[in-house]
């Protein structure tokens, strides 16, 4: 008698695949927002399974800040080629030039929030009606309140008070022209679920997720990689350490964690043991204000 129950990863996978198929069926021009991080890599893997043996029926879109880890960019190109998906890259740099935006200044000049401009321009350029993102509800307080199908107005804005009730497994993706929906198929996954799934499915990740040597500076107790995008102070001491990344964002706003973990089992063991949350340990930008994410989402951020 075969086993007729699912373990929790299989159940999460079944739900995410269901969501992917709803997206493909309900929207005319969806796009998968791909950052090169583990969450969006997991999204691509789930999308592959949802439509196999056909190709993923929508493009991968990367909003490129120009501040990426080179390893993540290489990985992005290889993955897009492997799954035979169309890869659309739009650069924040171009948006800054065209729209005469002001470049962020300072020691860690993060273009993170400027991505919103490029994203909205890209949505308009291609007429995307649904953008699929890898946000999880365990990440942050504002995320915990967002729907799986999150309707945005023509300015990309999220209105937390006007969300559609999401009942059973019924997703209402109907929109007016000009609006679009952000869809989060891995809303119900936690950081550890993602890692356990990556291990179970043997999904490849960029090398920077595992222990490697790197030149770093100390910023308020967080280790930030030395790169051409970071403006060091004369007083900064550059230290070489063995680190890995727990999340992969821009080089200007992502901190590394000291680690010897060079395989997935060791990474999972470290994450289980840590007493610091994913965003708290790795994101420099989220510390600015308590409601940073709430504000960004309301303004059209992912």
């Amino acid at each position: 008698m075969p086993r007729l129950k699912l373990n929790y990863l299989e159940e999460l996978e079944a739900e995410s695949i269901y969501i992917f198929r709803e997206i493909a069926a309900q929207f005319e021009k969806p796009a998968l927002l791909f950052s090169g991080g583990k969450d969006s890599i997991t999204l691509v893997h789930l999308a592959k399974k949802a439509f196999a043996p056909a190709r993923i029926p929508f493009p991968l879109v990367h909003i490129d800040t120009g501040h990426n880890f080179p390893e993540a960019l290489k990985f992005r190109d290889d993955l897009a080629a492997e799954v035979q998906a169309r890869l659309i890259v739009r650069k924040v740099e171009d948006t800054i030039n065209q729209r005469k935006l002001t470049e962020p200044k300072g020691k860690f000049p993060s273009r993170n929030w400027l991505q919103t401009y490029t994203l909205l321009d890209t949505i308009e350029e291609f007429g995307f009606d649904a953008c699929i993102g890898g946000a999880r509800r365990d990440e942050e307080k504002a995320r915990a309140k967002e729907r799986i199908f999150s309707v945005r107005d023509e300015f990309g804005q999220w209105n937390p008070k006007l969300q559609r009730p999401e009942l059973w497994n019924i997703f209402n993706g109907r929109i007016h022209k000009g609006e679009n929906v952000r869809v989060f198929p891995i809303s119900n996954w936690t950081e550890l679920d993602i890692w356990n799934y990556i291990r179970a499915e043997k999904i490849d990740l960029p090398s920077i997720y595992f222990s490697h040597e790197r030149d770093l500076v100390d910023h308020d107790g967080q280790w930030v990689a030395v790169s051409e995008f970071v403006n060091l102070d004369p007083a900064d001491q550059v230290i070489r350490k063995k680190v890995r990344y727990r999340t992969v964002g821009d080089m200007t706003c992502t901190a590394a964690v000291e680690s010897e973990a060079n395989n997935i089992d060791d990474v999972i063991a470290e994450i289980k043991a840590t007493r610091i949350s994913e965003r708290g340990e790795t994101r420099i930008d989220d510390k600015v204000t308590e409601a940073a994410m709430e504000d960004r989402k309301k303004n059209g951020y992912f």
Binding site: K5, A50, A52, A54, R137, K145, G280
Partner: protein, 413 residues
């Protein structure tokens, strides 16, 4: 390891947020930096100490007003289970949110303040639990510290609640005397209530059997999407993608495609592109049939000897969820899993008072948070079951075609 999805029903005053905060905190789902932020906020509010309830406050807008406006989802895990909490505010004006949170839940925690006992709100939450057929009910009698951990107080509330449960036909009820504030009987057995010899709440949540919540006897599968690669090597590939909402499908099964009623046989089953001998609820799979039929999104594939109902007139319990009132005679878009049809509300038999279960003659328009018994006519036939029999195939929503808002939840009777 599997997943338990549950909803907590109660208001701020019942200690709902404190209970959730306590579960997250004691299961070590709250990490050092989140705790640090919590401490900062506790100071801001000048309450002194760490306020666990703050863990579940989401948005700044809510914190400033000291209210919860919507359903939030919380996550924690123990070595035995992953938990997803739908955290819905419990005031009377939030029936909409409670139904939303309850719709995906296998268990409800009804919180009762030990000083207050069973109140109108308890009754309302229990009525919603019974309407939505939540399989497991936990009654958490909270603030036992404020009644000197009295066994008599606890027993009297159990007697009162049993009467309510009997009236509603609720079964599968488990009672816990707790203090969320101090953690009594939450993760570990309390030393202050030696008269209570049951498990702690978390232990129960870890062990409550969930297998029986999934129906594996009545196969239902709605086509979400037709996979047609249209490449040279997969020229004739045509797979019907969807999620098994109940039952098991096997290769060789004789099936009927509804609502058209055409017959065929399952020739192949796949998950993630790999052939499998069977698919079962709640798996997402792909079905291939021996015959080339015209099948599209929203069609049901069911077994020839186990058919759902098919028709275009539905009796439903309807919960109105929009600020604008229901307009009888208006056309709405009805979504039943993946199938969409136009529908019109023909007749409203009665309004259901969710505090008393009394049926009232409808007077005036149906407004936000009201529950009514209605008859709906659809433009083309649906294949469905009653909500009582199969939750997933017996539920639907209504969408206002002009605003695109989800305006009603439907439980098919």
């Amino acid at each position: 390891m599997n997943i338990l999805r549950f909803i907590t029903a109660g208001s701020v005053d019942d200690g709902k947020s404190t209970l959730i905060g306590r579960l997250l905190y004691d299961s070590k789902s709250i990490l050092a930096d989140q705790l640090e932020q919590l401490e900062k906020q506790s100071i801001k509010r000048e309450d002194g100490g760490i306020d666990l309830a703050l863990l579940t406050d989401g948005l700044r807008a809510e914190r400033e007003q000291g209210i919860t406006i919507d359903v939030a989802y919380r996550y924690f895990s123990t070595p035995k289970r992953k938990f997803i909490i739908a955290d819905a505010p419990g005031h009377v004006q939030y029936t909409r949110n409670m139904i939303t949170g309850a719709s995906g839940s296998s268990l409800i925690i009804v919180l009762i303040d030990a000083r207050q006992g069973v109140v109108e709100q308890t009754r309302r939450h229990s009525i919603i639990a019974s309407l939505l057929k939540i399989p497991h009910v936990v009654v958490a009698i909270n603030k036992m510290d404020l009644v000197d951990f009295s066994e008599d107080v606890y027993n009297n509330i159990v007697i009162d609640y049993s009467a309510v449960a009997n009236q509603l036909g609720l079964t599968n009820i488990t009672y816990f005397p707790i203090s969320a504030l101090d953690g009594d009987n939450i993760v570990d057995a309390s030393t202050k209530m030696p008269w209570y010899d049951g498990p702690a709440l978390l232990q129960f949540l870890e062990e409550v059997p969930l297998e029986t919540d999934i129906n594996l006897s009545d196969p239902r599968f709605q086509v979400q999407y037709v996979i047609r690669p249209q490449t040279e090597e997969l020229h004739d590939y045509r797979g019907y993608a969807g999620r098994v909402s109940s039952g098991i499908y096997k290769k060789g099964d004789e099936v009927v495609v509804l609502p058209a009623g055409k017959r065929s046989t399952i020739s192949r089953l796949e998950i993630g592109g790999i052939e499998v001998p069977e698919i079962f609820a709640p798996q997402s799979g792909v079905i291939h049939l021996t015959d080339d039929l015209d099948i599209s999104r929203g069609d049901s594939i069911v077994l020839a000897d186990n058919l759902p109902k098919t028709g275009n007139e539905l009796d439903v319990l309807l919960c109105w969820m929009d600020e604008k009132p229901l307009i009888p005679g208006n056309k709405y878009y009805l979504q039943h899993q993946s199938k969409g049809v136009r529908a019109v509300i023909r007749d409203i038999a009665y309004k259901l008072d969710v505090n008393t279960l009394k049926q009232e003659i409808p007077q005036g328009p149906v407004t936000l948070n009201e529950v009514v018994k209605a008859t709906i006519k659809t433009a083309s036939p649906l294949s469905y079951d009653t909500f009582e029999f199969l939750r997933q195939n017996g539920s639907a929503i209504l969408v206002d075609e002009t605003s695109n808002s989800t305006v009603a939840a439907l439980l098919i009777q």
